[in-house]
């Protein structure tokens, strides 16, 4: 077969390539990032019925929805952060669509995150991954698996008097990934940074360094335990919002059958 | 200035259209029936009638003006007397002066009201502005509750018992048994009165009138006119009328008669001892008792002793409400303000039939009406004389 997509089609039909949904349901009660109250806040997902086969619209049902660009499973564009404000084509509507489909590697931090809410992704962990799976190829998405997506309710933000506690990368880890020239970085937590990421230098290193370098972010991902460490393909196209800094989106992965890691093995 | 007498003016052709408890018919229908009857008695055609006085609560949206077209009348004198229980005497006062002055030759005075299911409740809720604002919202007992309060204070003040009120009710029922149009046709004992179910304490069932539909009427004309038509008639010796008397009284223990009674007797040239029979406005026995006092038949506070000493039946020594009054004949709205007057005309003209009081020549009729808020505001009275049988 000369058309490679024909091969993909038959692989999908034959079940040798599976589609894994990495997206949380958009739900009004799904947590969003919480900032100190004097700051503007991230709007929660909201849905109001416009009609439901009734006097407001006899044959149809539909809703008005509203949310922030960074509500639910979402994509961060470079202009989201001050460091990326001048990045060329840094808004979601300007990004080359080829970015939205590409290879993905998964670094499994779930064991450490299970025992330490403030678990850090460090260069050493990246080195160890590379020792096992080879160097992270350039222009790959890198996802940090923590199984955090399995948490519910207050456990998810894990807010305490000194702020939220959730795993994330150290500044050095992000610098290491930038040296690999990755396409973007994604997490299962509410942000690409650790809950306590404000205390790093620079604060929020994933946001600051990645977006400053024109890279992308994905957060609130789920089902990362169903992805192989490498060899999967990520499909993550944000909505084409004019000047948008990010967007809720449906994130899918194409996975060779039987290659998932973690619990599904 | 001395008031003019009513010489030369008479009352005649008294008619009562038999009452019914509930009726689909309108006030127009009831008034038409009374008018037709009274004109027929005098052999007058509707076209000949040049004066018309109407009392009714249930004509809405019409007024007596609308009635003239409805009934095909062309009067040159028209009156509307919205005074409830005082309407009869007030209507005759107005009509008598009109006839006396020549403004009208014959005035038909008619009162009639409809009574449909629920129309009583609707009437109560919008009876007056003060009632709507300040009495009906407090339990919606209607006049029963308002007069129960008056009775409560009256009993306390003068040491009156329910038995005393019962004597009035029982005597009237005895009279009603001789009046074929009475709604109540069974005898009433004092025991039954006392043990009746409570309506608004201290009132029980037999303190209260039964709302019904009906009409009453009579004609006012010159005496020579009545004579030429061969009609029996009554003369008017004296009348009084008063509204909102004693506003400073915290509660109504006396009516407006107390202001004007001396003038009534003076004009009539007689005293209470000359009265052969009395027709009071009996929306409740307590109000009749109040009239015995205020009309001079006994001193204030002596009403209870008076009823214990006197026999109020047709054959008694103080014939009172000889057709049974509203308590036994029924209350047909504004016609209740005519009931005693029409009966009095029959009595002094010897036409009362089964209720006829022997040798009745002088009758007193009193009216009382319109509980606007906490008390009846209108009072009226008249002394009529006739040639008897």
């Amino acid at each position: 077969m000369s058309n490679p997509l024909d091969q993909l089609a038959s692989a999908l039909a034959g079940g040798t390539v599976e589609i894994v949904d990495l997206t949380h349901t958009l739900d009004p009660d799904f947590p969003v990032i919480v900032l100190p109250p004097e700051f503007g806040q991230c709007a929660r997902f909201r849905m109001e019925e416009v009609s439901a086969y009734d006097g407001r619209g006899p044959a149809w049902k539909w809703h008005n929805i509203s949310m922030n660009e960074h509500t639910g499973t979402h994509f961060d564009a470079p202009i989201h952060w001050v460091s990326g404000r001048d990045v060329a084509n840094g808004a979601v509507d300007e990004i080359d669509p080829s970015v939205f489909v590409g290879p993905v590697v998964v670094i499994d931090c779930s064991e450490g995150a299970a025992s330490n809410d403030d678990f850090e992704l460090t260069p050493e962990i990246i080195d160890a991954w590379e020792a096992e799976h080879g160097p992270i190829p350039a222009d790959n998405w890198v996802l940090m698996r923590t199984d955090w997506s399995k948490r519910r309710g207050a456990e998810y933000l894990n807010m305490a008097d000194d702020g939220p506690h959730s795993p994330g990368p150290t500044p050095a880890a992000i610098e290491t990934l930038l040296k690999r020239n990755i396409r973007g970085f994604g997490t299962e937590t509410v942000g690409t940074d650790a809950g306590q990421g404000a205390h790093y230098v620079p604060p929020y290193p994933a946001h600051y360094l990645l977006h400053g370098a024109g890279k992308y972010g994905l957060q609130c991902l789920s089902n990362l335990d169903r992805l192989p460490p490498k060899g999967a393909m990520l499909i993550a196209p944000p909505l084409k919002i004019k000047g948008g800094t990010g967007s809720p989106l449906r994130v899918l992965a194409l996975v060779p059958a039987g290659s998932g890691s973690g619990e599904t093995k | 200035m001395k008031r003019q007498s009513y010489d030369g003016v008479v009352l005649t052709a008294p008619v009562s259209v038999p009452y019914v408890r509930y009726s689909q018919e309108t006030a127009h229908w009831w008034i038409a029936r009374a008018l037709k009857q009274t004109l027929e008695v005098a052999s007058l055609s509707p076209r000949q009638l040049d004066g018309f006085s109407v009392s009714s609560f249930t004509l809405f949206p019409d007024t007596p003006v609308g009635l003239t077209q409805h009934l095909g009348l062309s009067p040159r004198w028209l009156d509307s007397i919205p005074m409830g229980g005082a309407s009869g005497v007030v209507a005759l006062r107005r009509a008598a002066r009109a006839v006396q002055a020549g403004d009208a030759d014959v005035v038909a005075c008619i009162a009639g009201d409809a009574n449909r299911i629920d129309s009583f409740r609707q009437l109560l809720s919008s009876f007056s502005r003060f009632a709507m604002d300040a009495s009906y919202p407090y339990g919606s007992g209607g006049p029963n509750a308002s007069f129960a309060l008056i009775a409560d204070a009256y009993m306390t003040e003068y040491g009156v018992t329910r038995e005393d009120f019962g004597r009035i009710a029982v005597a009237q029922r005895a009279n009603a048994l001789h009046y074929p149009n009475a709604i109540m046709k069974a005898p009433l004992t004092l025991e039954q009165y006392l043990s009746a179910r409570p309506i608004s304490e201290p009132f029980g069932l037999f303190d209260c009138v039964m709302p019904c539909a009906g009409a009453e009427g009579f004609l006012v004309m010159r005496e020579d006119e009545a004579q030429s038509r061969g009609l029996a008639y009554a003369r008017i010796s004296a009348t009084i009328e008063r509204h909102n008397a004693f506003p400073e009284d915290p509660i109504q223990l006396r009516g407006g008669w107390a202001m004007d009674i001396d003038e009534l007797y003076e004009m009539a040239g007689c005293g209470p001892e000359s009265i052969d029979l009395l027709q009071t406005y009996d929306d409740y026995p307590v109000i009749s008792m109040m009239q015995f006092e205020d009309l001079g038949f006994c001193a204030k506070g002596e009403g209870a002793r008076f009823v214990r000493a006197r026999d109020l039946t047709i054959t008694g020594d103080f014939p009172h409400n000889t057709s049974g009054g509203q308590l036994s004949a029924g209350q047909a709205g504004a016609a209740g303000g005519y009931l005693g007057l029409v009966e009095a005309i029959r009595q002094v003209t010897g036409q009362a039939g089964g209720t006829q009081v022997a040798k009745a020549r002088t009758a007193m009729v009193s009216g009382f009406g319109m509980i606007n808020y906490d008390r009846g505001l209108c009072s009226s009275a008249a002394i009529l004389t006739g040639d008897g049988v």
Binding site: P28, D29, P31, V34, P37, E38, G40, Q41, R44, R46, M47, E48, E49, G153, A154, Y156, L157, M159, A160 | D118, F120, R121, L124, S125, S126, R129, F130, M132, D133, A134, S135, Y136, P137, Y138, G139, S140, G141, G142, N144, A145, S146, A148, L149, I150, D152, A153, T156, R197, P198, I199, S200, E201, P202, F203, P247, P250, I251, Y373, D374
Partner: protein, 414 residues
């Protein structure tokens, strides 16, 4: 002495729930002065400005001197019962269901004779204190109360018809995070509330008093976010049928004027303060309105907390004031819509509350406990508009006197 009101028995599910009926509600325009006074707990009658005669029933001209200059003035409450009756028969559907009903005539020390409802503890000859209260039709009516308060006097069935007393009733407080919620729970339980539901939004945020409140006897914490239609509907589906009193403590307040701010905070304020009220009313209102004749624990009141700046804007809190004006307007519409059911819409107006969002403001500020006491008093007395604290009372007074002058004063520099 009034008999103690017993808790309601479990309902017989085979009996039809009573359909709400109302006492007579037609009034003249003048008589609405009684309603206006009763709504805020005042005892006012018309006083002739020329001769001083006190008038009753309300009228359009003085019955002593014919002056038309009649003004509503605070009036001494004392009077003597001069007659009483127990009504056993009434053609009115509302009273038919509540017979016997006692009423009486009271001679006021101020002059007029007043036909009024009688509290069970008073009768002919007694010296009484008169009160003006709103009845189920939302109209001002007179009731004669005993001079001496007794422990269970609020349980009198005729008085209870005129109040929204929490005793034996189940209350929903919509926001666990409001500083007023904790003292409100305590005050309601003290007043005899049988159960209290407390709404909690975004339980994933923590930071609420959740554990302490959820642990209280007779208190349940339930998920509720007034900015989320589905959340409001979900809770109404669960407890709407047993919510007798709803107290909306949810509010969002941020300082700032209109210029120099974007509309993000304003939107959040409107979402919670105005539209949240609408959502609560839409989800809980119809069910409550259908249960206003449901016995001892009938649905009785919907309480909304407002800033007194709903009346006139505080430019330091521009968008917030606007959201409060909107909420006031919504509450007025709800009042009209609840009218047919007898469900009472109570607005409790407060000045700046003693919380983080009014921290830099000078005192006096309304303590959460004072706010809670005002709310429970409004329920116990059956008020419709309550001004809690000195600032709110002062501002209301100034607003009544001249709204334009107040507006200029609030604009500063005056």
């Amino acid at each position: 002495m009034t008999d103690k009101l017993l808790p309601p028995k479990k309902k017989n599910p085979q009996l039809r729930q009573m359909v709400p009926t109302l006492p007579p509600q037609m009034r003249s325009r003048a008589a609405l002065g009684l309603t206006a006074a009763a709504a805020r707990g005042a005892f006012s009658l018309q006083h002739c400005q020329e001769c001083g005669a006190v008038q009753y029933p309300p009228r359009d001209a003085c019955c002593a001197c014919l002056s038309v200059d009649l003004a509503w003035r605070k009036t001494p409450r004392e009077g003597t019962v001069i007659a009483e009756t127990r009504i056993n028969v009434s053609p009115d559907p509302y009273y038919r269901e509540r017979l016997p009903w006692r009423s009486g005539l009271v001679r006021l020390s101020a002059g007029p004779t007043v036909l009024c409802h009688l509290h069970g503890d008073v009768g002919r000859g007694d010296i009484v204190l008169m009160d003006l209260k709103l009845d189920k039709a939302g109209q001002g009516v007179m009731i004669a109360l005993p001079q001496e308060r007794s422990p269970d006097m609020a349980d009198d069935p005729q008085l209870r018809e005129l109040t929204a007393h929490p005793k034996h009733r189940r209350v929903l407080i919509t926001d666990i995070r409001s500083p007023a919620t904790r003292p409100l729970i305590e005050a309601l339980l003290k007043a005899g509330a049988s159960q209290i539901f407390v709404g909690e939004s975004e339980s994933w945020r923590r930071g609420s008093d959740h554990a302490a409140i959820a642990g209280l006897d007779k208190v349940s914490v339930m998920p509720l976010d007034v900015s989320d239609p589905s959340s409001v509907k979900r809770l109404a589906a669960e407890i709407g049928g047993k919510t007798d009193i709803l107290i909306n403590t949810a509010r969002h307040v941020r300082p700032g004027g209109v210029l120099g701010s974007d509309t993000v905070f304003a939107r959040e304020e409107f979402e919670i303060n105005a539209l949240g009220l609408m959502r609560l009313a839409q989800a809980f209102g119809p069910g409550m309105a259908s249960r206003t004749a449901d016995g001892v624990n009938s649905a009785v009141a919907f309480v909304n907390l407002l800033s007194v700046h709903a009346l006139s804007a505080d430019p330091q809190y521009g968008a917030f004031s606007a959201s409060q004006a909107a909420a006031l307007s919504i509450s007025q519409t709800l009042r009209a819509e609840f009218r047919a059911s007898g469900l009472r819409m109570i607005n409790v107006f407060a000045g700046p509350t003693d919380d983080e969002w009014h921290q830099p403001l000078p005192p006096p500020k309304v303590a959460p406990k004072a706010l809670a006491m005002s709310i429970v008093e409004a329920l116990c007395e059956g008020l419709e508009d309550v001004y809690c604290g000195d600032v709110a009372k002062d501002l209301e007074e100034r607003w009544r006197r001249d709204p334009k002058v107040l507006e200029r004063e609030l604009a500063g520099g005056a």
